[in-house]
Symmetry: C2
Subunit: 267 residues, 2 copies
């Protein structure tokens, strides 16, 4: 392929992960999609949808159980997340992007055999139908990207034996970014509600501009970086160590304009 | 394109429409997917899911209203069908086909801008968010097909302005078949629970082998062909009049083996 024979001219792909709060608030979603649609070149949007899943589950009389920030996914909950992530949230985003002249296609890990996973082995906790990623196959995804089509990926995978599995969206974004970096220059942007990773949790403007792994570890030890930020940064550092050119953590308002305003991970 | 310059060597595409009862019964679905996966050459599966939508709606406290066999789709019901058709049913089928080594991709009309529709104008009845198809754009779908990927299409469309719409699966199957017939030799197979169109409603084996439009009209007048069979046959005759090579109505058990066992529509 031409692209592989000339690495200095590889095309760029921007992988954006956007969390539940943004995709589940119509005005925020609209703004995000507008910003996202203005990113030039190839791009992929990976979305969450946990709040909607919890709300629909509640309406269906299904209780949501979270352990370490992860959803326990029994058979009923799997149906809920398959409906909500793969259907409701995904198609709202796809239709919204079409309205902005971004030709999007909604995918889960089962579609085009994009992401295979194994059901997480039961140790202390039985997470149920939660998938740990084993293989990302981007052959068909690349063809789609090369047509200017924008993949919109829901946080679901499959096991290749007919079973859908619930998989963390941050992890999916990082693994997709790593897999795409074999052929493209990839930047990965995690969008969330803050301006970046903060060095002072009480000051929303105290953004760490560049974060290396040693500093990350010491921020963890001192309790500055905690909770849900840790798995997000772990996947981010994994991406930068495995071929992804740039990883940013930023506010979705900054998307498409100046991503430099968030936190940049450096090795 | 090579294909267009040599019409005598056009590839074949088989478009199969399968109704709710089959896709919503695990054993029947498994059998259908096995038969479908054995069809050689390019293929597209269009599915329903009305029974599941009605069941989930009921669980959510949303009442289902049908008029002339069509679902009244208010905002809440649109969310339900988007979840159930685009998420739950579609992904079960996609994961099931992957397990049979058919590399499937689940799509709605919004994905890849495949099917645009307009919200049905309110005359006697306000059907709500129901879409009448205006444009089928198969450019990206053809690229997907040419890669040996199998599109699995849910009965949803969009209006190009960000609005998803509920659209009848029989109609989607026929319109997709017509659009694909510009480039491929297309056969359209409607699968349902009977062996074909019956000339005696009390005899399950009384299958009409070949049905032309004049006979169809007289069967309607005499009350032999009634109810849901009429819109199905109308879309089938529309397909055969608009470039689709063959249209069959048959039992899903016959799929992949001998479709000649059902009813063949002829002009």
């Amino acid at each position: 392929m031409k692209k592989e024979s000339n690495p200095y001219k590889m095309e760029r792909v921007t992988v954006v992960k956007v969390g539940g709060k943004v995709v589940e608030t119509p005005e925020l979603l609209q703004k995000l999609l507008f910003n996202f649609s203005r990113i030039s070149g190839n791009k992929v949007l990976v979305h969450g949808g946990g709040r909607s899943a919890t709300a629909i589950a509640k309406q269906l009389g299904i209780e949501t159980q979270m352990v370490n920030g992860r959803r326990i996914t029994d058979e009923n909950m799997l149906d809920v997340v398959t409906m909500v992530y793969g259907g409701l949230v995904n198609k709202k985003i796809v239709a919204g992007l079409q309205a902005l002249n971004s030709n999007a296609v909604g995918l889960t890990g089962a579609d085009m055999d994009l992401i295979r996973a194994v059901k997480r082995p039961v140790k202390d906790i039985d997470y149920g139908f939660v998938g740990d990623i084993r293989d990302v196959s981007t052959r068909e995804l690349e063809l789609v990207l090369d047509q200017g089509v924008v993949p919109v990926v829901a946080p679901l995978t499959h096991d290749g034996k007919g079973q859908m599995l619930n998989t963390n969206a941050d992890t999916i974004a990082a693994e997709l970014a790593i897999a795409l970096s074999r052929k493209y220059r990839v930047q990965l942007i995690y969008c969330f509600e803050k301006k970046g990773v903060l060095f002072n949790p009480d000051d929303e403007d105290a953004v760490i501009r560049e974060l290396d792994y040693t500093s990350y570890e010491s921020y963890q030890k001192s309790g500055v970086i905690v909770d849900g930020m840790i798995p997000k940064l772990d996947t981010g550092f994994s991406a930068i160590r495995n071929g992804v050119e740039m990883v940013y953590i930023t506010n979705s308002d900054e998307l498409g304009s100046n991503v430099g305003h968030g936190t940049k991970l450096i090795i």
